[in-house]
């Protein structure tokens, strides 16, 4: 049986007309991406839950009072709300998260290695650590592109909507980020294992 993906526009319309199940469907559809986005900035599960909740409370308010006009950018709009709430939180607590990586989860764990060999595993970990260090040398906007594309698995169109730039700009930043990384590997004499 074919599973139809109901569009955000239709779900929003149904919700505004009084169908509460449409809200449930909207949240189910986007919860992983939104929560993942928040968690990548906070590294704190409880805080992420709070910000996720506050984000969707704002979404509910805007939808119920017809303050939101659907133009095919619902997810980008939700990301903006959560991003602003994160900034507000850290402004109030007077600190910014300095490091995305924790013991339990590394944002940049995306090197693949299927070999069961212990030596290769060790080298892979070394490479992973080196890549993490190298990413910090990239300009902020290039780090952001890699984060959104590889960690949050957003399409380039979604990234473009979120950052309010063109798709070509996103593609360009990604290309420059990869080129810069390759240059840094050479400069730092790093040997990376596939």
């Amino acid at each position: 049986m074919e599973k139809l993906q109901i569009s955000d526009a239709l779900l929003i319309q149904q919700y505004v007309e009084g169908n509460e199940n449409a809200l449930a469907a909207l949240i189910q559809k986007h919860k992983s991406k939104v929560y993942g986005f928040i968690y990548s900035k906070t590294n704190d599960a409880d805080l992420s839950d709070d910000i996720f909740q506050d984000t969707f409370i704002k979404v509910i308010h805007k939808l119920k009072t017809s303050s939101y006009h659907e133009e095919g950018k619902f997810l980008s709009w939700v990301f903006r709300i959560s991003h602003n709430l994160i900034i507000d939180f850290y402004r109030k607590s007077n600190r910014m998260p300095m490091n995305r990586d924790t013991d339990e989860y590394s944002v940049f764990s995306f090197l693949s290695d299927d070999s069961p060999n212990v030596e290769v595993k060790f080298l892979k970990e070394q490479s992973e650590n080196d890549v993490v260090k190298l990413l910090k040398f990239l300009p902020q906007e290039q780090q952001e592109i890699i984060d959104l594309k590889l960690y949050k698995k957003m399409s380039f169109q979604e990234i473009a909507d979120h950052l309010d730039v063109s798709v070509n700009t996103c593609l360009g930043r990604m290309r420059y980020a990869i080129k810069k990384m390759q240059k840094l590997v050479k400069e730092h004499d790093i040997f990376l294992v596939n």
Binding site: S32, H61, K64, F110, Q182, L192
Partner: protein, 46 residues
Amino acid sequence: MANIYLKEKKVQTLEPKKSTIDFLLNYSKSIKCVKTKHLNVLVNLN
């Protein structure tokens, strides 16, 4: 020449707690928009 080989690896799926989502759904049901002459106001139905 060293190459950077980036490939997606299965990562832990991050999701909000079920209670968070349940709260949002209940919250939505508990409020209603009342349209006045100049404003749309949310009122609590409880």
